[in-house]
Symmetry: C2
Subunit: 115 residues, 2 copies
């Protein structure tokens, strides 16, 4: 049964900040949406998976050893596997995330990720 | 070197209809943008990869053996591998596509895909 998914409806339906809502699977990848505000995660590395951050609303900085990358609504950034990074979010920002299933955990996702 | 990619800027920068512009790689997947109008592809199957259609602007129908699925701007549909399908596009519609590298070819992408 195929499903049509509206990104803004899905992200707006999640009641809490920092909770990743799974909205689809693509081969072994998970698509999820999350709302974040006023949070800077610790620097971390995903050894097994590239990670895509797509901004649905708002803006944030993705910090790597190259510096700060500014990403706003309608834009994405892909963090290659093995790259030290952290998201720096001030204003409320709504994301679509894509990475291999099993990549996100409580240490790298902002604490409220539910398996 | 990480790159910030604006989806609408990328799809609007492609001069021709039906030309898939590669805009990123996520693990072994390719992200591409394409503009399509007045085209119905033949039914086909991707045996090795799920395929994601995300509508940036416009709307289309994804036809499967279940029937027609209407997908409009801000929505995506994932076609599981092995699923007979075809996109039916009338009005000008702008897409983000994601599938395993090597999935698209001249037979299933509308003829103008360049390797």
């Amino acid at each position: 049964m195929l499903k049509v998914v509206n990104l803004m409806e899905e992200v707006n339906a999640v009641e809490q900040l920092y909770v990743y809502q799974k909205i689809g699977f693509l081969n072994p990848h998970m698509l999820s949406v999350v709302r974040v505000a006023n949070r800077t995660l610790d620097f971390h590395v995903h050894e097994e998976s590239d990670e895509l951050f797509y901004v649905l609303e708002g803006q944030f900085h993705l910090e790597t050893e190259e510096g700060l990358h500014f990403v706003k609504a309608g834009e994405f950034i892909i963090v290659p596997k093995g790259t030290l990074h952290r998201p720096v979010v001030t204003d409320l920002t709504k994301f679509l995330m894509i990475e291999l299933c099993g990549t996100l955990n409580k240490e790298n996702s902002g604490d409220l990720y539910e398996d």
